[in-house]
């Protein structure tokens, strides 16, 4: 699975079963340039159905741009991208998307249920009929919305205005919104950002269980890999000098990161298996000692 541009760490190609699920996402020699600056180029990667994949890398490496590229919101500058068998943007109805963001303003007085419901039919023109006049389809809609709210465990606060929910509660409701149409692919951009450690763990476990139970491929941009480390099938590491994809234990290594950053880097593992990256990455926004 590892296809580094330089070929230096091509030693460990992952031989998945030949009967593996079809590619949900595939990039062939793809490159991205925003405002004339090349973010990444010659990227080859494949995500299969039901896989949980993290996108890591320093700030400004183009992680969010990768997500937007898969949604067709940003064009690739070179190469070929296929999402769910089509050009990016064609099958967005089958993709659940959680953009990188801050929380809802405390004054937003719309219920969590309504937010989830927008994921179901928010793109249909017009307004739903009032409840007494609505038919079977509306009942099915409400059922599905309730079901997905139960799935993410948000039943207790889905009736509250979203602005009054905590960060973790809002994130669960937004994940429910992304899931409500039974997507084949979830694109999550730093969903754990600004959550406390306990909530990070529970939201990570939720994403993992959804990934398994709903058989949806998850591509998640993460600032810190540790909350999701034990759930991951693959890691995509984006850096200035190249892109590496593979199992986390193969990618988050001193050798690979040293190659990507072009400067000596160590990866330490603590007693609980958490990873700490130590070194002097060449990117100015990356702190001298950080967690990938």
């Amino acid at each position: 699975m590892i296809r580094p541009p330089s070929g230096k760490v091509a030693a460990a190609p992952v031989l998945r079963a030949v009967t593996a699920a079809p590619d949900v996402v595939s990039l062939r020699r793809a490159g991205s340039a925003v405002g004339g600056r090349t973010l990444w180029s010659e990227v080859n990667l494949h995500v299969r159905a039901g896989e949980f994949v993290a996108v890591l890398g320093p700030n400004g490496a183009g992680k969010s741009t990768l997500i937007k590229t898969l949604l067709g919101l940003v064009p690739v500058s070179s190469g070929e991208v296929t999402v769910l068998g089509s050009r990016p943007g064609r099958r967005n109805a089958a993709i659940g998307y959680l953009p990188q963001r801050r929380a809802f303003d405390a004054g937003v007085r719309i219920r969590g249920t309504d937010i989830v419901r927008l994921g179901w039919d928010g793109d249909r023109w017009g307004v739903p009929l009032p409840r007494p006049l609505s038919g079977r389809r509306a009942r099915a809609t409400r059922q599905r919305v309730d079901e997905v709210i139960e799935l993410v465990g948000a039943g207790a606060y889905a009736g509250r205005p979203i602005g009054q929910c905590s960060g973790g509660e809002q994130q669960r409701l937004l994940i429910a919104q992304a899931l409500v149409r039974r997507p084949e692919l979830l694109l999550l951009d730093e969903p754990l950002d600004s959550l406390d450690v306990t909530t990070q763990a529970s939201v990570s476990a939720l994403i993992q269980s959804v990934c398994r139970s709903e058989e949806v491929a998850v591509l998640m941009v993460a600032h810190d890999v540790n909350p999701i480390l034990r759930y991951l099938d693959h890691v995509i590491y984006l850096a200035r000098s190249g892109v590496v994809m593979g199992p986390p234990e193969d990618v988050i290594t001193a050798d690979t990161l040293t190659m990507l950053y072009g400067t000596p880097i160590d990866v330490l593992r603590d007693r609980e298996g958490r990873l700490v990256v130590v070194g002097r990455p060449d990117h100015p926004s990356e702190p001298s000692r950080s967690v990938p």
């Binding site: 963001r101 937003v108 719309i110 937010i115 928010g122 023109w125 739903p128 009032p130 509250r160 992304a178």
Partner: protein
């Protein structure tokens, strides 16, 4: 005034100007209540206020040129909506969730220009001074049959478009990034909504005057949002409160020597205060919020 309610109302309705005022007020209240709710949700109150002040030079200019006041209101407000929509960064999508989009200083500049040119038109049209107050603060006697008809057409048009935009407009308001990824034309909806807002403020201005449009556009909607977090229920509430405020305000204005704008605004403010007080009582510690 006899304090016999039935007789008083009969007396009031026997005046044609009063009938027209109530007709126009009813149309305006329904539309302003509905559109106002979306405006409050989108955090575009400042844009709405600016559109209202843009109606003033429109009306003043139309009077100066001797064409219908309604034409001036609608023409300027719609043009103003397009200008605001085209201002860079007027509402930067993705700047926040829940319609907390930033409004640029550009809108404020447009507002100042609108007020200044309105005043210019007033001074160009000599002997217009009594009309100035009416343009700014509204008048109960000023609505003609033709104006009622125009308001009706514009109001029904606005409501039909608002209902048609419905869910995608709500989606684009609450979560523009995800809405765009789902193929909703977020930018187009931004422009469409501003034009709707322009039409509504133009209509509103003809009842409450340019400066007091907010009484109907903001107060009932803000009160309704505090009373219910269900979008459909809140829209209905907002319309109901706007109607209540308008009818009561017009009735009191008829029996009192003071202007209609004052009464409608005062009642709207009272409704808003009551809603805030009700919400504060519900959210006292130890009570389940809804």
């Amino acid at each position: 005034m006899t304090w016999n309610l039935v007789a008083d109302v009969q007396q009031m309705l026997s005046y044609h100007f009063m009938l027209n005022a109530l007709r126009a007020g009813t149309i305006v209240a329904v539309v302003a209540g509905a559109i106002g709710y979306v405006m409050v949700l989108r955090g575009q109150s400042f844009a709405g206020h600016t559109l209202a002040t843009i109606g003033f030079p429109g009306a003043a200019g139309a009077t100066w040129l001797g064409i219908g006041v309604a034409v001036g209101y609608f023409g300027f407000c719609i043009a103003g909506a397009l200008v605001i929509a085209l201002l860079p960064g007027a509402r930067r999508p993705g700047s926040g969730l829940g319609g907390s989009g930033e409004e640029s200083a550009g809108i404020g500049t447009v507002q100042a220009l609108a007020l200044a040119s309105g005043f210019l038109f007033v001074s160009l049209y000599k002997g217009f001074l009594s009309g100035l107050n009416n343009l700014l603060f509204g008048t109960i006697t000023g609505v003609s049959d033709a104006q009622v008809l125009i308001l009706l057409v514009a109001g029904v048009g606005c409501l039909v478009v608002l209902v048609a935009l419905g869910r995608p407009l709500l989606f684009a308001t609450i979560d523009p990034d995800v809405a765009r990824a789902r193929g909703i034309p977020v930018r187009l909806l931004d422009v469409a909504f501003l034009v709707l807002l322009g039409i509504v403020t133009a209509g509103c201005s003809q009842v409450t005057g340019s400066l007091l449009v907010f009484a109907l556009l903001v107060a009932p909607a803000a009160a309704a949002a505090r009373l219910s977090a269900r979008p459909a229920a809140a829209v209905v509430l907002s319309v109901g409160l706007a109607l209540l405020v308008t009818w009561a305000g017009e009735t009191i204005a008829f029996f009192s020597p003071y202007p209609i704008g004052f009464w409608v605004t005062t009642l709207a403010f009272a409704v808003y205060l009551l809603a805030i007080a009700h919400r504060a009582r519900l959210e006292r510690p130890g009570r389940q919020t809804s």
